[in-house]
């Protein structure tokens, strides 16, 4: 592996300053499960690796009970999210996604922030955060700015982050009480594999009439970046949701997707699976809401 100097700043400001001093030859590193592979393979050739592991605030996971806002530090590992009872109970879509990223060894080290910044089209970590209307807080030399997670991705492997910017955390706004959410990584096997297609659905229902007040249908590997199926969401919003409507939403989502043929599978198969899985994930959401109320 190429030789580099390892730096481990303790604050975000210090990290940005380090990066400024070494400009083109410096790279930030989260858990390292992607960056180390890239350095080994020669795809990334840093003279300075700036580890973000010692920056305490980036590793914090907490929910503010007063505001209902969930804050996930960028350096929170997938395993921390997977093991959190709060995540399992209140944000099942996050649990569904992170519990099948890589392997346990990767999840014990790999971080949610690293998964987002890596910006692969499959982006298991991104789909639930988009469905939950997550907002990414970025910090750069000019200060902080917020970007919706859905707007974070420009193209495969490229995000809106400027060279020295650091993703600090993702905040999730409070969820309506009658909300269900689910994600499926669909492929030949879950572990150590990229999905053929990733489908996340979130439904919020009006407590009295049971009509859908919010619908999110998010797809991974359905285009160059993670996407929302806006027309399918529109179909569900304001209506009472049943199986027939979910099937229709699945068809619309499949039409909205920009799937293509790849080594992992054919476009027609991906579309078919969107149809089936939007319905199944929608049913899972409804079952969660029924179980809780």
């Amino acid at each position: 592996m190429k030789e580099f100097t390892y730096l481990s700043p303790e604050t975000v400001e210090e990290a940005i300053a380090f990066h400024g001093r070494h400009s083109e030859t410096a790279k930030y590193m989260g858990g390292g499960t992607d960056v180390i592979v890239k350095v080994k393979e020669g795809w990334m050739e840093p003279d300075f690796l700036i580890s973000l592991k010692k920056i305490k605030e980036l590793g914090e996971l907490h929910k503010n009970d007063a505001t209902g806002v969930l804050s996930i530090g960028a350096m929170v590992t997938h395993a921390t999210l997977e093991k959190s009872l709060m995540i399992q109970n209140e944000y099942p879509i996050i649990y569904d996604a992170v519990s099948n990223i890589g392997s346990l060894q990767v999840r014990n080290v790999g971080t949610i922030g690293g998964n987002l910044i890596n910006a692969v089209p499959s982006a298991d970590g991104a789909i639930p955060l988009i469905a939950l209307d997550g907002v990414a807080l970025l910090h750069g030399p000019e200060g902080e700015r917020s970007v919706a997670v859905k707007d974070l991705f420009v193209s495969p492997y490229k995000t809106v982050l400027k060279p020295r910017e650091i993703l600090k955390r993702i905040t999730i706004p409070p969820q309506a009480p009658h909300t269900g959410s689910a994600y499926i990584k669909f492929g030949r096997r879950a572990a150590m594999e990229l999905p053929l297609i990733g489908i996340g659905v979130l439904l919020s229902l009006d407590a009295i009439q049971g009509r859908c007040t919010k619908a999110r249908i998010c797809l991974g590997v359905a285009g160059p970046t993670p996407m929302r199926a806006f027309d399918a969401e529109k179909l569900l919003t304001g209506k009472k949701i049943d199986e027939a409507l979910l099937i229709e939403a699945g068809s619309i989502a499949a039409d909205e997707s920009r799937v293509r043929d790849s080594v992992r599978g054919k476009a027609w198969h991906r579309k078919e699976m969107i149809r089936v899985q939007v319905k199944r994930m929608g049913q899972k959401c409804l079952a969660q809401i029924n179980a809780r109320h």
């Binding site: 592996m1 180390i36 690796l49 395993a79 519990s99 392997s103 014990n108 572990a191």
Partner: protein, 164 residues
């Protein structure tokens, strides 16, 4: 660049200078001669290099040696007693046909140990989930899962093993 680090390895304090670009796997195998931990793919896909860092199973091929500073690390070399008595998980792999060529075995056993240390009652699903990142090209996994199942009793009786 060289950095001085200290960590606990299988119960012993290690104080050593490491190059910043060394992986923990390189430090263990090439610098310290601890070749029980294997290098398979080198990309975090096969799990042959699995060690336990602060109670978590980690791919040592993707973990920088400098980041081992201050950590508690367990490798396959730390499992058997000094008199050669195998750890219950090791013995169970021997008894239940969990080993064929043996290359994946150290990683399999370290992943199993991390699992059972945290969850001594792990069921079949939990075992499969914990070992999903350890690839074996010989056994077809059935005997490996059986070995971990059978080790559960032994581990409970010998809670803590030899180096905790």
């Amino acid at each position: 660049m060289t950095t001085h680090i200290s960590f606990l390895l299988n119960g012993d304090t290690i104080s050593v200078d490491v190059k910043d670009h060394w992986t923990l796997l390189h430090l263990l195998r090439e610098e310290m001669g601890l070749i029980g931990t294997k290098e398979g793919c080198g990309n975090g896909e096969c799990g042959a290099c699995t060690v336990i860092i602060d109670k978590l199973a980690v791919n040592s091929c993707l973990f920088l040696a400098v980041e081992a500073d201050g950590k508690i690390i367990e490798t396959i070399e730390g499992l058997a007693s000094t008199d050669g008595t195998l750890h219950p998980i090791q013995q169970s792999f021997v008894d239940n046909g969990g080993i064929q060529c043996g290359f994946c075995t150290p990683g399999m056993i370290m992943s199993s140990k991390a699992l059972l240390d945290g969850n001594p009652d792990a069921d079949h699903e939990a075992i499969k989930h914990a070992l999903a990142g350890n690839i074996c090209r010989c056994t077809g996994y059935v005997q490996i899962f059986e070995s971990v199942q059978a080790a559960k009793k032994g581990t409970a009786e010998n809670k803590g093993g030899n180096n905790e």
